[in-house]
Amino acid sequence: MTALPKRLSLILLALLAALALFPAWGPLAFTVKYAFLLQKLTGIMILAILAMSLDLLVGVAGLVSLGHAAFFGLGGYMLALLSPQYEAANLWVVLPAAMGAVALASAVVGFLAIRTAGIYFIMVTLAFGQMGYYFFNDSKLAGGSDGAYIYVKPVVEAFGITLVNLESKQAFFFAVLGCLVAVYLLLRVVLASPFGRVLAAIGVNEGRVRGLGFDPMAYKLVAFAIAGALAGLAGFLAATQYGFVSPAMLGWHQSGHVLVMVILGGMGTLFGPILGAFILELAHFGLEAVTEHWLLPMGMLVIAIVLALPKGVAGLLLQWCGTSETLVERGAIEAPGAPRRSQGSESDRPALEGQTRPKEGGQ
């Protein structure tokens, strides 16, 4: 299933191992700060799930959504709304319900948004995201601008036995890690599937996809639903972690933040956005420790990244690990049985004009 260069796979696995073993080496390295860092890492992993879900839209299908955080926030609010006030909710009930609701909302938004393209699409998704924000901010549905609390975390039980105790920071860490890995693997499978191949093709040349007999609208819609559901999962986890949801979770600053993670990390690679999440969040953490005006250097960092690393960190890693192609293939999955990718003499051909979608090619 993997087409990643071996060296790269090893690096990523090593990082995963380091992360998974943090509860072992963390207390030794950080003593007092360990508990805080454990929570921080959990939070970053949740954002990484969100970033991956956005990558499906931005990096694979070429749909630059600036309103994706709305689905993140909605997932969290679903937990808040479905949880009894002072009791634990049943995860088996609320999680599917939350993800289902968000997937539906995402499909509706997607249905309206995919009628537009290019800059219109970006603006429309931005506006829908804001719609979500104002919905929870202005209405009294769930605390308005004050937000809502989840006093008791959901329980994960089967036959009366607690499978995972989400109140335990350590157990929750592993639960989230499990979700992160599961989402990554799921998206890899989806990308390698016939659906995923068409979606990746849409991101490269939508016009030709149409000419080959596929209806791009249908595929984009499904992509929206999947991406939305996964963003909802991330939101659900975030709400579980902090026990609190606020309208800001849906706002465009959150959307912009995730988009930067995806681009910084390297769009279309899935693992790139995970790296992007970690780098950006740790940068935030570091900058905030230095100055209260951390947004200023953060803004400069964003600009520097866009100017210097058009393919993101993942692009850098891919290059370093042996693929001399400067073109990062969207959803880089090869068909086994296909001839091995050869390096042409023109493999240093400059990357495509940014990641521009050709305008309705084939006219």
Binding site: L327, V328, E329, I333, G337
Partner: protein, 254 residues
């Protein structure tokens, strides 16, 4: 209702952009397994006509019939599924995919639906086989692993054809397949097209007259959006009207 002798035909097909009538009531019939070329000066409306044929543009009036059914309102992706394959004048491949993947995706249109999420696309062996076959047909078997965007222009034009072949259509609508090609590359492409003309119903838009005469049996001449004349090769070559309008005084040799 009489059965039409034409596999694919247009009846008074018209396209207007505001006040400009790009295609003016054009009626052409394409017979099965007949190589049919559409020629005419620049701006004659040929590309617009092709876009109408393949559902890329909605018609303003008239009909497009395929196997007796009216497909005028069908969008591009549905027309492709009916068995009408199309290649493009401006190279329209997936530059970041390998040649093989370009064709494999084209061949994937054979699946009743591509809304399948779990099984890897690569596991559909028949699809991969069709892709390899198409590459072979177009002479690109040795290039299967190359990233499409890194190939030469001529090879990319070959890929254009390979992709259309991979969809195993009944009708091949080729929009200037020789566009921008040098002499040698053109000869290769003409040879390929002659082979394809034996198997498929070929509809060819071309400026290169040598190629047209070598491949096509029937010609339709379009000028200023209207069909000037349509008929067997010799008839058109001999036609005074066509010579005056197009072939006679300096045919646009591209």
């Amino acid at each position: 209702m009489s059965v039409s002798p034409f596999l694919f035909e247009t009846r008074s097909l018209t396209k207007a952009f505001g006040g400009l009538i790009a295609v003016n009531s054009v009626s052409i019939g394409f017979r099965e397994r007949e190589a049919h070329a559409i020629i005419g000066p620049n701006g004659a409306g040929k590309s617009t006509f092709v876009n109408l044929l393949t559902g890329h543009l909605p018609a303003s009036g008239g009909h497009v019939m395929f196997k007796g059914a009216d497909i005028t309102r069908q969008p591009a992706h549905k027309v492709a599924r009916l068995g009408i394959g199309r290649s493009y004048q401006k190279t329209n491949v997936f530059p970041t995919f390998t040649c093989f993947e370009n064709c494999r995706l084209a061949a994937q249109s054979h699946l009743a639906t591509s809304m399948r999420f779990l099984r890897p696309a690569a596991a559909y062996r028949e699809i991969s086989a069709k892709a390899s076959e198409a590459l072979e047909r177009a002479g690109l078997a040795s290039r299967a692993g190359r990233i499409a965007g890194t190939m030469s222009y001529g090879e990319q034009r070959q890929l254009e054809i390979a992709m259309v072949l991979a969809t195993a259509p009944q009708v091949l609508v080729l929009d200037e397949p020789l566009a921008g090609m040098g002499k040698e590359e053109s000869e290769g492409m003409v040879g390929l097209l002659q082979e394809l003309a034996q198997v498929y119903t070929l509809i060819l838009i071309e400026h290169d007259m040598d190629a047209v005469f070598a491949i096509a049996k029937v010609l339709s001449v379009m000028v200023n959006g209207t069909l000037l004349e349509s008929g067997p090769l010799d008839q058109i070559r001999a036609s005074k009207a066509v010579q005056d309008a197009y072939l006679g005084d300096g045919a646009e040799a591209y």
